[in-house]
Symmetry: C2
Subunit: 221 residues, 2 copies
């Protein structure tokens, strides 16, 4: 019984995600879904990314949180249009569903936007199950979280197109087995690009942003 | 429609959780539900905790993960009976529900057990919504996750009885505002005990274990 209901909800989400995808294609907007555990540094990664992208790549951001507008407030400092979704308003959802993104998008003017970044709710499980009509998905994983997250949360790493391995500035202070971490990620998603970076120092951002621009060029060409 | 279904599932969970609670009371077992983000250090915290508790406090552990037996393998080294639940077997659930715990418990002999620790799936959202029939709930929050997790994931901090603020050995290398973190937690759950600790160095564990023993004494006296 529960399973049937879950399938219906997921099917409804697929239909809505396809509508979103069609709409984004018409608007010529590339949509990036950014997911991670709570506290992996998604927002700081996006602050750095916006610094590099703006103003050449016209970017808007949708931020999903259970509660608070902290992340949206920080990202709004970049000058990009930022829209906050608080899932507490509709039951504290642990992910962004396609219809929630569709509602949010109706409040944004996408006519002069090339890239829409969606910062999902901090959660390595549920957001991986919900297509929102995006063109690319990335997972931010911070090194203090340990080496084995890819094998413990395999769906997330399977559905993503790249891993942003963040907070490498902390490596000298951690017992972190970098080779093991890279091996675990490759085990779940062979040949997925892994960008090692520090949002604190800015290390490693150029490679990641070049990759993102290449993905955009592929879609928008 | 979706809301009604969700309510039915949550009600069914409440009924099962009450049955668990009654069973645990009969068995004179204290049940601790340990929750956190992925990678906050739950398993290392529990390894340290078991070192202090065993053999005086006879302890068993149930570990919930989406995938892998890494954590259960590590905890089994303590000598405590450890049972792994992999939610991938039933759809990759993002939390442990009461019936899942009931099934697992039927494979454990609780006759000579004083304390059952349930290490929940790493997730700051969903596990907070599912009572499993526990006597106490704690949330492990690691300092690299940032100061504002309590206000961003308020339900988790509201339903928990204590916060274990882990990885304080990393404080010298982070821009961490300790006062802000403590203030955010107190804002959501005034007077909740906060144990600052490092599972790596062992700092701060005695106070936490004393608190846990006091909770157990209250129930089992």
């Amino acid at each position: 019984m529960e399973v049937k209901v879950a399938r219906k909800i997921l099917n409804a989400n697929e239909i809505m995600a396809d509508q979103n995808r069609k709409f984004f294609k018409e608007k010529r907007v590339f949509v990036l879904n950014v997911m991670s555990s709570p506290g992996s540094g998604k927002t700081t990664v996006l602050e750095r990314t916006l610094e590099i992208l703006l103003p050449d790549v016209r970017t808007a951001v949708i931020v999903g949180d259970v509660c608070t507008t902290h992340d949206a407030d920080r990202l709004a400092n970049s000058g990009a249009p930022v829209l906050q979704i608080m899932t507490d308003a509709f039951g504290g959802d642990c992910h962004l569903a396609a219809h929630v993104v569709a509602n949010a998008v109706s409040d944004l003017n996408l006519d002069n936007i090339d890239l829409l970044i969606v910062e999902n709710v901090g959660n390595l499980v549920c957001p991986a199950e919900f297509d929102i009509g995006e063109d690319a998905r990335v997972v931010v994983l911070s090194v203090p979280e340990g080496e084995d997250k890819a094998v413990k949360y395999p769906l997330m790493f399977r559905v993503c197109d790249a891993t942003l391995l963040n907070k490498i500035d902390l490596l000298p202070y951690l017992d972190y087995d970098r080779d093991a971490a890279l091996k675990f990620i490759s085990q779940i998603h062979p040949e997925m690009p892994i960008f090692e970076m520090s949002a604190k120092t800015g290390d490693g951002f150029m490679a990641w942003v070049e990759w993102l621009k290449a993905q955009m060029a592929k879609k928008l060409s």
